[in-house]
């Protein structure tokens, strides 16, 4: 009885395994036969307290990951929304990256400078088009994530908040010394003179 029960249980497990395995393998099998690009769009400006500042350079990094099983070809990255609000100082917003190997990655960095300020800029996603493998006409499109909205402040406002102004404070200190030191020294010299009247002179 025990042996029969164990045998029945084993058959049951094998049957279940046979039915479940195709389900889990379906996702990965699909990726094995195609290229799939994931795109991340990120602003790099840690030191500036999260501000985009008028006439100050800001970096945008696009990271592309091919999580598929075959090479992505004719990979083209486009981000046309940037040019409406920013001046592109270095790099291209419309660039052909060529090929990305399976499980490989590529990145592209551009340097931009805000043209206008005093408003919250809504960063939209970049678009990547690619083909899956060689000799294929089918074009796939993938959108990147969207970075957080960012307030673009004027340079004046930013410097007012964050610039240390060491030289300016030093100059202020230098300017403040005469109106404080001169009256104090004059008062102190008279005070010291008359306080010394009752101190007996040495040697007498």
């Amino acid at each position: 009885m025990k042996k029969k029960a164990l045998l029945l249980f084993g058959v049951l497990v094998l049957c279940l395994a046979d039915s479940v395995a195709p389900l889990t393998a379906a996702g990965t099998a699909e990726l094995d036969n195609e290229a799939r690009i994931l795109v991340q769009k990120k602003l790099l400006q840690k030191k500036r307290q999260g501000y985009a500042v008028e006439s100050m350079d800001t970096f945008i990094k696009y990271s592309l990951f091919n999580i598929g099983g075959i090479t992505a070809t004719n990979v083209v990255l486009k981000d046309p929304s940037i040019v409406h609000a920013f001046e592109v100082v270095a790099g291209d917003v419309d660039v052909t990256l060529g090929r990305i190997a399976p499980q490989g990655n590529a990145s592209h960095v551009i340097i931009i400078r805000p043209i206008k300020y005093g408003y919250v800029h809504n960063f939209t996603s970049a678009v990547v088009t690619y083909s899956s493998g060689e000799n294929t006409q089918e074009v796939h499109t993938m959108h990147s994530d969207e970075p957080d909205d960012m307030y673009i402040t004027s340079l004046k406002e930013f410097e007012r908040k964050f610039s240390p102004h060491f030289v300016d404070w030093a100059a202020f200190a230098v300017m403040s010394v005469p109106p404080l030191l001169i009256p104090f020294m004059l008062w102190h010299s008279s005070k010291a003179k008359y306080e010394a009247v009752f101190i007996p002179k040495k040697g007498k």
């Binding site: 007012r160 404070w169 202020f172 403040s176 109106p179 104090f184 004059l186 008359y194 306080e195």
Partner: protein, 181 residues
Amino acid sequence: MSKNKQFTREEELLLQDFSRNVSTKSNALFYGNAFIVSAIPIWLFWRIHLLDIVTTSPIFLLVTLVATWLMAFAYKNTKFSLKHKVAVKREAAVTEDMNRKLSEDKKMSKKEKDERILWKKNEVADYEATTFSIFYNNALFLALIIIASFYVLRSFSPTINYMLSVTLSGGLLALLSTGTQ
């Protein structure tokens, strides 16, 4: 009844002592110092708060003149209240010092010596009260400006910040100087 309008030297000195009036020289000193110290915050607001100096120059001028008057008022009142305290403190030392200097002059009468000692006491008290008043009010004014413009009023626009911080600091000092103690 004869009307004697001529005061003795002693009475004149006493009147001067108890009077709030200042001499022309002291006035010039007070207004000159007040103008200089009232103009110093312009640097702070131009370089640190980044106010445009050309477009804001009428406001700078007006506020500086108002602060100059307030500071001069504070100087005068502070000097007046300090003078008596200084006179009491220095009385013995000035008397001793003058006695030493005048002891060799045998021709001078006691009355003349007393008048000179009184005059010297008044002069020393006046001098020390004037210089300390200027130092004290300048130090407080600059400290109040920094606290007001960088902490209390920092959320205001720079122009309003300047007008309020300088005027209120000068006004507060003028008010405090009218205290009886």
